[in-house]
């Protein structure tokens, strides 16, 4: 529960930093955001008045306890705070809204006054991170975060200079690729991370993971997978050139917005071709064609006489799957298997039928991260398939008992016939990826946990 409170606080703090960047102090929206952060801080400090958030390397720690999922979800804020030299944030409840505003202003770079007194204090708590990170999936998360970092760097560079260095992206993909080989199921579960704040970055990372997994299923080797990984990671990079107001528009796009949105594939492909030498044509192809349909429709309209390349189509199915399973302001997230059904409906028309089949074969009926309501009223999160091609059901962890109470995750094997409904993670209050480090789930991934970190 503490991680949940810390997560809510950081989410609220992030909102304040954004508002502070946009509006002056006293603006109603800023005040509202500060008020939200104060409520979140109050929840965090309710039990123990003093709460210390440490920032060390690539993680947040709450009172010296690692917050694995929060670190990933708020990776951008973590970086911003670290760039401002923040090592720790001490909250002394009840936290004053004015102090939160000062913290946000400092984090946003609009103020250089380091809050040292009052109810929010910076860098008062020294924390030496243990050499051994106890999280069994720390490497996996680090790779994921590395991918996010590389995407942010590329986006910043592209926005400011119109060009970027592709090497960090390649390094990030190679790191992620190693993990998707050795921790295949865990990385698929990690791909259920859905951040609203940096939607494009997280979506790109998830698309990358899914595309790499499909590629592995199809027997591609590492040399072949790296360019596909780079392409899938960068497939939306052209959105840097699209007005953020359109990207963040909370409703359906109108005609004018569509016209601007449709330039992002060519912007991305151009940027990759400009940035990279020979060897990255695959990535550019993917960026250019990821909205082109198998039947020749879609955008941009390129040629009458050829279909999009098959690996563009591979990334497209991963892209669509992740996009429709992500909650957007104007559209609820599709349950995972309904997303697969949508792809199946359009196989041979919008999507390459073989690629749709490969994705379904990889994910199964209830893909990892599906929140399942079972016949006995309990709620479980699917984590992996029992075996390919079998109807033996799947492995899952129970998170809510029959009385509707959240419980410590408990491993169980679920048959398809036991599933009565698919639930929305938000509705149930479950974050599938956050389960990764829970003991019961770690047990399920025992063969994927690095030596020395196995749970007894």
């Amino acid at each position: 529960m503490s991680e949940q409170h810390a997560n809510s606080f950081l989410k609220a703090l992030r909102r304040v930093t954004r508002q502070v960047s946009l509006y002056p102090a006293g603006h109603p929206l800023t005040s509202e955001a500060v008020e939200g952060a104060a409520i979140a801080a109050a929840a965090l400090t309710r039990v123990d008045r003093e709460q210390i958030l440490n920032l060390s390397r690539d993680s947040f720690y709450l009172n010296r306890v690692l917050l694995p999922h929060t670190s990933l979800e708020h990776n951008g804020l973590l970086r911003e705070l670290q760039e401002r030299g923040v090592d720790s944030i001490t909250l002394l409840g009840p936290v004053a809204p004015g102090d939160l505003f000062d913290l946000a202003a400092f984090a946003a770079g609009t103020s250089d006054d380091l809050p040292a007194e009052g109810t929010v204090r910076l860098n008062e708590s020294r924390f030496d991170q243990p050499e051994h990170d106890e999280s069994p999936f720390a490497d996996l998360r680090r790779s994921y975060a590395g991918g996010l970092d590389s995407l942010r760097a590329v986006s910043r560079s592209m926005a400011s200079e119109g060009a970027f260095d592709l090497n960090p992206v390649v390094v990030a993909v190679e790191g992620m690729l190693d993990k998707t080989v050795t921790q295949a199921s865990a990385s698929l579960l990690l791909a259920t991370v859905k951040s609203h704040d940096d939607y494009t970055f997280y979506h790109s990372m998830n698309t990358c993971i899914l595309a790499l997994a499909v590629g592995q299923l199809l027997g591609l080797d590492k040399r072949e997978l790296v360019p596909i990984g780079v392409g899938s990671l960068l497939h939306d990079i052209g959105k840097v050139a699209v007005d953020p107001r359109i990207l963040n528009h909370p409703g359906r796009l109108d005609r004018g917005m569509w016209a601007e949105m449709k330039i992002h594939p060519q912007e991305g492909a151009q940027a990759i071709m400009a940035a990279a030498g020979p060897g990255h044509e695959v990535a550019a192809t993917i960026a250019l064609e990821h909205h082109a349909r198998y039947d020749g429709a879609g955008y941009p309209h390129i040629a009458h006489d050829r279909r999009p390349h098959v690996f563009s189509m591979m990334v497209t199915v991963a892209d669509v799957y992740d996009a429709v399973t992500t909650h957007r302001p104007y559209r609820r997230a599709y349950p995972p298997n309904r997303a697969l059904n949508l792809l199946l409906d359009q196989a041979g028309a919008a999507y390459h039928p073989d690629m749709v089949r490969a994705l379904i074969r990889m994910l199964g009926v209830y893909p990892p991260g599906s929140v399942l309501r079972l016949a006995d009223g309990t709620v479980a999160v699917s984590t992996r398939r029992v075996g390919p091609g079998s109807d033996d059901g799947l492995w899952a962890v129970r998170v809510v008992d029959a009385a509707g109470r959240h419980v410590e995750p408990e491993e169980l094997r679920v048959r398809s016939s036991q599933v009565v409904a698919l639930e929305s993670p938000q509705r149930v209050g479950v974050d599938p990826a956050a389960l990764l480090d829970r003991v019961a789930v770690v047990g399920q991934f025992a063969d994927e946990v690095p030596d020395g970190l196995r749970v007894a």
Partner: protein, 666 residues
Amino acid sequence: MTTDATQIDHAAEEAARLLSALGAAWSTYRLYPNPVDQPAFVRAVDALASFEGSHLPFEVGAGIFAWNGEPLEARRDGVERLATQLYIHDVATLRLARPPSAQELADFFGVIDGGEAGTQEQGGIDIALEAAGVFSLAVERRGLLGRQGEESDHDQQGVGPGEDAGLSAAELRPVAELAARGGDPAELAAQCVADSGGDPQAVADEFVSAFGEVHPPDASYGDNRGIVDALAPYWVDAQTPPIVVFAGAFEHLAPAAQSSILAAFLDSSSELAPRLFLDQLSGAQLAALAPHLEERSRDQLRDYVRGCLDRDDGEIDELLPLLAAGSEIRDERGSVAGRLGALVNNPAGLLAVSGETFDMLHDGLTPDNHPALGVLVLRGLFACEHRDHRFRRLLRIVSGRVAAAVRAGEFAAAVALLAGVRDDGAYPRERAPEVDAALGKLLSPELLTDLVERYSDEGESEGVVQLLSYLGPSVAAKLVDALATEESPALRRPLIELVGAVGTKHPQPLIAGLGDPRWFVARNLATALGRTGRPEAVDALRAARDHSDYRVRGEAMRSLVRLLREQGTTELVAALRDVDERVRDTALGYLRTGEFAGVDTELAGAVGRDEIAAEALGAVVEILARLGTPAAVEGLEAIAGRKFALRSGDRAVRQAAKDELKRLSR
């Protein structure tokens, strides 16, 4: 007075403490599966135990409690949530009849934590609490019509989204206030019906008016401020955005009211908020209502849907199903799971990936095929890029890649890239000059020297020629210039060949240079033109036969012969009247080979027209005599019967012709 005021303040403080304890307990209940065991819950129960005696009831509003007619400051956010939860259950007042036990308090929370539908089924929240054995906390329900009277109680209530619209929460009508507080959609719909009397149009008017109070029309669609404001509620999930509450409530209204509301929102869909409301509705919802709309609204709906789908045509019946929205995502679990299960469990059949796909994947990812992919990407980009500045950037990308390939000696890759861009109209025709100019800049003097040297290498000559040819006509012009200034004989020869080879694709710069007054320039270009094989070079070379320098004239003739091959007889015979012996001798040399057609006829004609220099006639007699055809005889007769000037040589020619005629007649 002071004493009274102090007592009231003290009582208010007590009331606030009581609420704070309730709020703490409520938060703990919501956070933990076993709240009664939680220290925070126990502390709250202990705190409540200290409030023995009668208390005035707390009045319950959406997110706020009032006591003695005054709103109470919420010291914990749990208090606000508790008020909201009670409000949802139509609780008008809450009273602490006696301190509850921990279990009783948990049971109280258990009842109000359930859905209001459940408590309504039991006959209301008060009856549900009785049924649960909760008597320490007493509630009174409010009637729907009683809401109006409560408004004054909320004059000092806290800030809600409605205030962003310039109204305080207290100034909002009840429906709007409910939405502003992120209330229950069904509740809002019921409130709307109750407040309007139930007539569909009145319901619609109430709904639209309340929506307008929370979402003012001053933010125009596309306006930055408006977008930021619209987004703001989505950034924190703590409260459901009012617009989503309205969209949810819409589903609970009668179709007639829905149609009227839809018409109103379509009418103002150029404004941000109404447009966002429409965006919440699914295609299925809109399709169900479309038949009930008047023609004007249907047209507006059609335009809206076309805009959303970025389509210029199509009618709403075919377009609406394509619009997805949250409410369309219904529980299709059974059919979906069954369908997917059937596929997953038959991997050998339905989920098999074709061998062709495997091959395409592996082939496409082979490094050798990367350049070809690069060409496809660039062709695609050239085809779809209509923005001038981006088109120029594309050209820079191509230039950079070609230059890199050339530097690496990878002519095939450079040529493939250029061919991919140049061939088959990858870009619109009107862009050609821009492309030519950009690519032409690639050929620096240093690169040219390098390429000429490489050209001499047998293995690379073809690649060099193709590369230069694809760089465009401006490169041919540069080569012509280079040819004019190249002083090294060792480089000049391959350069001439290179100019000729490139001239096969771009002959015009060579033709233009042929008129150069410098004989060596004209001569070299004449040579090069002969290597182009282009028909348009013929006229230019014929014109060069009038050049003042014999070397140019001679070279032009040789090039003409090269271009026209056996059909070059006319050109050779024409050269026989050249004033320079070296030109004539060259022509005669060709004519003597016997490889040219119609030599006899052409020579006879030229003799008849007196178009052969007298100095060449002796050789002509030899050629004609060797041919011995009737036409040749005719030519010999013309020479034999000719009245020459009194020069010994002429007479000798005439005599030679006569001798040959005699010989032939034998």
